[in-house]
Amino acid sequence: MDFFLQQLINGITLGGVYALIALGYTMVYGIIQLINFAHGEFFAAGGYMGVILISYLSSQGLHPYACLVISLVLSMGYCALLAMAVEQLAYKPLRQASRLAALLSALGMSIFLQNGLMLTQGVYDRAYPTEITSGGFEVGALSISYMQILIVAVTASLLVGLNILVFKTRIGRAMRATAQDKVMSALVGINSNRIIALTFAVGAGLAAAAGIMVGLYYGSVNYTMGFVPGIKAFAAAVLGGIGNITGALVGGLIIGMVEIFAAGYISGEYKDVFAFVILIGVLYFKPTGIMGENVDDTRV
C-alpha cells in the first residue's frame, strides 16, 4: 500500500508538470489549429532563464523563496516575449498557407531554438542551487519533498489563474471567440492577431513555469530537456482532447500516472510504451480525446 501511495505521489508530481506544458499545446491548437512543436523549447528556455536568475539572485543574498518568485515571474515574462517573437517570425506569415507549412515551420523553429540554447548556454548541464529544493517530510513510510508540494501548488494556482483569464475576462472572451471563428470575431472588432500572439505568450509562460519547476525538482537543466517532455505533453493534450483546457490537465495527470505505475509495477523500460499505447487506444475509440465532446464550447 505504501508503495502504491508513494507511486501515486510521484505520478501526480510528474503529471502536474506535463499538464502545465500541455496547456500551451492545447491553447495554441485551439486558437489556430497549429501543433506548435517549438513549445518544448519554451519549456527548456524557461528552465535556463530560471537557473540564470536564481543563481544570480541567490548570490546577491536574497531569501531563497524571494529568488524563486522573482525568477518565476521574470522567466515566464521572458518566454512569453520569446513566444510572441517566434509567432511573428515563423507562424504569422504562414497563417494563410497550408497547415503542413506551418507545422514544418514549427519543427524548424524547435531545432533552431534548441541549437540556439546549445550555442549560447553550452552543452553541459547547468545545476540549480539546492537551498530551495532540498528537504521534505515523512508521513509513515511515505516521503514527500517540499518540491513535490511546490510543483502541485504552482500548477494548481496557474490553472486557476488561467481559468479566470479564459472564462472571466474580456481577453478570455475574445480568445474563445477567435477560436470559434477568426473572421467573424475580427468583424465584430476583435484584433485576432493580438489575441493569437497573447495565446502564444500565455502558453509559453506556463511552459516556462514548468521548466523552472523541473529544473528545481531534478536539480539541473540541459538544452535537450524540452524534447521528451514536449512530446509527452503533446500526447497529454491529444489524450485530453486537444483544444480543451481541462482536458490538458486530465491528460497530463493520466500520462504522468501511467508512466510512473508502468515503471513501478512492470519495468522502467516500458513506461513510455504504456503511455503511448493508452494514447493510441483513446484515439482509436474516441478520436476527440477524453474531454472532446464539448470542444466547441470551452476550447480556447
Binding site: M118, T130, G219
Partner: protein
C-alpha cells in the same frame, strides 16, 4: 547554341573547381591530418567535447614543439557522431574524404564499432579513448587501438570491491539500455551472482529520462545494501543520485566510468557525497597530468573531463608513432605504436597485439566534492 555555351561554361567552372583541390603537395610540405569523432551534440556532448579538446591539446603540443619532421604542420578535423551508429559511419566517411591518417574516437561503443569497420577498409588507424565494450578490440581489426580499459575488467573490479571492502550482501542494478551501460550492468550482475552477492533486481530506464521516482521507489522498497547505477551519462547519473537521496534511499551508491565526471558533483552536490565510482586510475599528482591540466584549463576554461586525458594520450601516442616511423604508412605506424611504452597523462601506456592497453580500474569515493582514489583493483588495497 545557347545551351552548348552554358554547358561549356559549366564544364569549365567544374574543371577549375577540381584544379583547385587537385594540386599535389610537395614532399616535406605535407600536412599531417588527424581526425576526431565524438558526440559533439546531443546528451553525450559533454564527454564528446572533452574528447575533442583533449586531442586538440596533443596536436597543439606537437605543433609548438616544432611539429614532426617531414610534415609542414599537424591539423585536426573534428566530426560529430551524436552517439548514433549511422552518423558515426557518416563521420568516418567524411574523415576519409578529408584524408586523415588516424582517428581519435568515438565515445559510445555502439558508434565506435561501425565507424571502425568503415575506417578499416581504408586502413586508417583508430584509437579510442573511451569505448570500453570488449567487442571493440575483439573483432581482430588490425588498426584498432584502445587507450581506456575494458568493461569485462570493470565489472569484476566493481564486484570485488563490493564483496571485499564493503561486504555487500544484496544489490539493485539499474541501467539505461545502451550497448555499453547494459552490457556492463549484465557483467556486474553475473559477477555478483558468482561472488555470492544477491541481485535483488536488475531494472532499466530509458535514455533521456529525467524522472526516476518510480524505479527509485522500487529500490527503496527492496532495501539493497548497494545500489549500482550504470547510466551512459554523468548528468543523468547526477539526477538519479539526487532523487535517490531525496527519496531517503540510504544504500551505498556506486556508479561506473560514464557516470564519473566532475559534472556529477556540480549537479548533485552534497547528495553525491560518499558515492563510489569505478574509473581507470589517473594519477592527478603526476607531473605529466598536471602539465596537461594546466594547458587544458588555459585553453578551455574547464577542468579536464573524464576522458580528456585518454584522448590526449591517444593522439599523443599516434603522433609519437608517426614521428618514430617518419611516415603515416599505417603498417609502419602500427609497428611503432606496439613498441611504445610511455607515461601519458592518464596512465602508463603500452599497446598490446590486440590493440588494448590494459585496464587499471580504481574505485573512487566522492569526498568533499572531489573524486578521491579509494581502492585499487590491481592490488586490492585501499589507498
Amino acid at each position: 547554341m545557347k545551351r552548348l555555351l552554358v554547358l561549356a561554361v559549366a564544364l569549365l567552372a567544374l574543371g577549375m573547381l577540381f584544379a583547385g583541390c587537385g594540386g599535389e603537395e610537395k614532399k616535406g610540405e605535407q600536412v599531417l591530418k588527424i581526425g576526431t569523432m565524438s558526440p559533439l551534440t546531443g546528451p553525450y556532448a559533454a564527454d564528446g567535447n572533452d574528447i575533442r579538446q583533449g586531442a586538440e591539446i596533443a596536436v597543439e603540443v606537437f605543433n609548438e614543439a616544432g611539429g614532426i619532421p617531414g610534415f609542414s604542420k599537424i591539423e585536426m578535423v573534428s566530426e560529430d557522431t551524436a552517439c548514433d551508429p549511422k552518423q558515426a559511419v557518416a563521420a568516418a566517411n567524411k574523415l576519409i574524404n578529408e584524408k586523415v591518417s588516424a582517428v581519435v574516437g568515438a565515445y559510445c561503443s555502439s558508434s565506435t564499432i561501425p565507424a571502425s569497420e568503415t575506417l578499416a577498409e581504408e586502413s586508417i588507424i583508430m584509437l579510442t579513448p573511451a569505448s570500453t565494450s570488449p567487442k571493440v578490440t575483439e573483432r581482430g581489426l588490425k588498426y584498432m587501438f584502445r587507450t581506456c580499459g575494458r568493461d569485462d575488467h570493470q565489472a569484476p573490479a566493481a564486484v570485488k570491491f563490493m564483496k571485499d571492502v564493503e561486504h555487500v550482501k544484496t544489490i539493485f542494478i539499474v541501467d539505461d539500455k545502451t550497448t555499453y551501460s547494459q552490457g556492463l550492468a549484465e557483467g556486474v550482475a553475473a559477477a555478483a551472482e558468482a561472488a555470492g552477492i544477491k541481485v535483488l533486481e536488475h531494472d532499466h530506464v530509458n535514455q533521456g529520462d529525467k524522472d526516476y521516482s518510480a524505479v527509485l521507489t522500487k529500490v527503496k522498497a527492496a532495501h539493497p545494501d548497494l545500489f549500482y547505477i550504470s547510466l551512459q551519462n554523468s548528468a543523468t547519473g547526477a539526477l538519479m543520485v539526487i532523487q535517490a537521496r531525496r527519496m531517503g534511499i540510504d544504500a551505498i551508491l556506486m556508479g561506473q566510468d560514464a557516470v564519473y565526471h566532475p559534472k556529477l558533483m556540480e549537479i548533485a552536490k552534497a547528495d553525491a557525497e560518499g558515492m563510489y565510482c569505478t574509473f581507470g586510475a589517473i594519477d592527478k599528482d603526476a607531473p605529466k597530468f598536471k602539465e596537461f591540466q594546466t594547458k587544458y584549463t588555459a585553453k578551455t576554461g574547464n577542468a579536464p573531463g573524464a576522458y580528456s586525458a585518454y584522448s590526449f594520450d591517444s593522439a599523443t601516442a599516434y603522433l609519437m608513432a608517426v614521428k618514430a616511423a617518419g611516415t603515416t604508412d599505417p603498417a609502419k605506424v602500427r609497428d611503432e605504436l606496439l613498441k611504445l611504452d610511455f607515461t601519458g597523462a592518464s596512465k602508463q601506456i603500452s599497446y598490446q597485439e590486440n590493440g588494448d592497453s590494459g585496464s587499471n580500474y580504481t574505485v573512487y569515493k566522492i569526498q568533499g566534492g572531489k573524486f578521491v582514489p579509494y581502492w585499487n583493483s590491481l592490488t586490492g588495497e585501499k589507498y
